[in-house]
């Protein structure tokens, strides 16, 4: 081995700044998450929405029907599922393939790692879901309100679902199973039971944004625009704080 000189013992203690930690984590996880299979499969899932939007537009459907389509397929299925795959994998994959040690055993705080991971997942989830959903909203021919509502509710949905599932991935090994159970059973079924239960379902808040922007009438979507935006953002912040705590507390292989 080549004789090289290292700098010796008297160097200052170094810590990585929060901004640098976020940027480094973001870059490495973005590249880890970007696999061809994932991107193609999830894009195909998202393309269901514009196809349905085009079909609806061709049949002169009402604004209510168009909003129901965006709320059901877009906010209720496409965004949560794509966010689950990318958000859960952002930390979960690193833990499972044992590369998390290369981020953990570093002089870095934990919260920038959680933020960087969620940022990487949002970077992939947003275009894969929002572009098809906005296209779907436009193809229904139901006016500008549904397009604007889809953009705002979709963006809020992407942020909150990715954050929650980033925490889920840091917390549980079988995050896909638990995440799907939440999306399909809790949000898709149990939360329909009444307003009290729906209050703890994220889709109620995103649906409320869509309803506010379109002036339509959907079940379980009666929050104001402010509540529809602020509560999910607070949930996202709490989820990332929990993900950071989980990173600090868990055993690393």
């Amino acid at each position: 081995m080549t004789a090289i000189e290292f700098s010796g013992r008297d160097r200052p203690v170094r810590e990585v700044s929060s901004f640098t930690s976020i940027a480094l984590t973001y870059r490495i996880i973005l590249r880890q998450l970007t696999t061809r299979g994932r991107v193609i499969a999830l894009t195909l899932l998202s393309l269901v929405a514009p196809v349905a939007g085009w079909a609806l537009g061709a049949s002169d459907a009402s604004l209510d029907d168009s909003v129901r389509l965006i709320a059901g397929i877009g906010l209720g299925l496409v965004i949560p599922v794509v966010a689950l795959v990318f958000g859960g994998a952002s930390i979960g994959d690193l833990r499972d393939d044992k590369t998390l040690v290369f981020l953990w055993l570093r002089p870095m705080a934990r919260w920038p790692v959680a933020v960087g991971a969620a940022g990487a997942a949002i970077t992939l989830t947003a275009p894969i879901t929002l572009i098809p959903l906005v296209a779907a909203a436009a193809l229904t021919g139901a006016g500008n309100g549904i397009v604007v509502g889809t953009i705002i509710s979709g963006l809020v949905g992407v942020i909150v679902y990715v954050s929650v599932f980033t925490f889920l991935g840091a917390w549980l090994k079988r995050f896909i199973v638990w995440g799907l159970a939440y999306i399909l059973i809790w949000e898709g079924f149990i939360s329909q039971a009444g307003a009290g239960v729906a209050r703890v379902a994220l889709r109620k808040y995103t649906r409320s944004i869509l309803v506010d922007q379109t002036g339509t009438d959907l079940d379980l979507a009666d929050f104001s625009l402010a509540v529809g935006i602020i509560v999910p953002i607070l949930v996202a912040i709490a989820a990332l704080a929990l993900a950071a705590w989980r990173l600090s507390a868990q055993d690393i292989d």
Partner: protein, 324 residues
Amino acid sequence: MTALPPPVVQALAAPAPPPDTGMITVSEASKFFGSIVAVSEVSFSIGGGVTALLGPNGAGKSTLFRMICGLTPPSRGTVRVLGTDPRHDRAVRGRISLVPQQDALFDHLSASEFIGFAARTHAVEDPDRAAGRALASVELSDVGSKPVGQFSKGMRQRVKVAAALVNDPEVLILDEPLTGLDPVQRRNMIALFHRLGDEGRCVLVSSHVLDEVARLGSRVLVIAQGRLIASGDYRDLRGLMDDRPHRIRVGVSDPRRFAAALVDRGLVSGLSLDTDHVLVDTLDVDGFGRQLAVLAVELGIRITEVSPLDDDLESVFRYLVEGR
């Protein structure tokens, strides 16, 4: 690993309560995973230089290393690295490096990128230059632009070592770092470890291969069944191994006559035989080896096989732990 027999043989110096001056100080540390005892009441303190951690597979070496790096907290006891708790002290993590046993790397990165990433996450000044130096230290400069996913196991090991060196660590923990290396790379890597140790760094290297430990250095910690069963100078351990009874299987054309001659000359402490072999227990393995051929010539018999049956590491540990 739940039933832990008391060590019959305290091989070298019995593990003593550690002084506070070591760069790594482990005090009565235990780690449980449910009912499984992975590490049990381990205490030691080590400073600068190379120390080898010897133990068979599943002995608790990796768990002990994970505790030292703060990757998992001890269930009982304390671990201090450079005077602080590595689990909770963020700053000390910049002064420790670990070469993990697992093969996982960011496979989409090139070797230069991977080591540069390690440098940046350690806030190293001029990370690209540091990465270049670290790559050179493991002789991978010429393949630095290739993705590590295309590397052989030995090259991946060297990438991990380079990434561990890039932050100029004071404490370097290497979990089976010689796995997958060819003999030349092994020799070079061991020389590198010694040089790092000579610079005053605390270099702790695990291995389950006795011959590797012999070359890693004179200081050795021996762990088996989660317990530290010996610590001290490797030469003492080697001497103890040479002094223990050895079992050898000898294939001969006339086992009965050969066995009688061995007993007559007092070369064995016990034996058994079948139609083609004599199973010999001897305390003087060198003397037995010298007399074997002489005896065969004198008796006019043919030797077809000489196989030591207890030269593997498991049998050494069985002897150290259980006295058999």
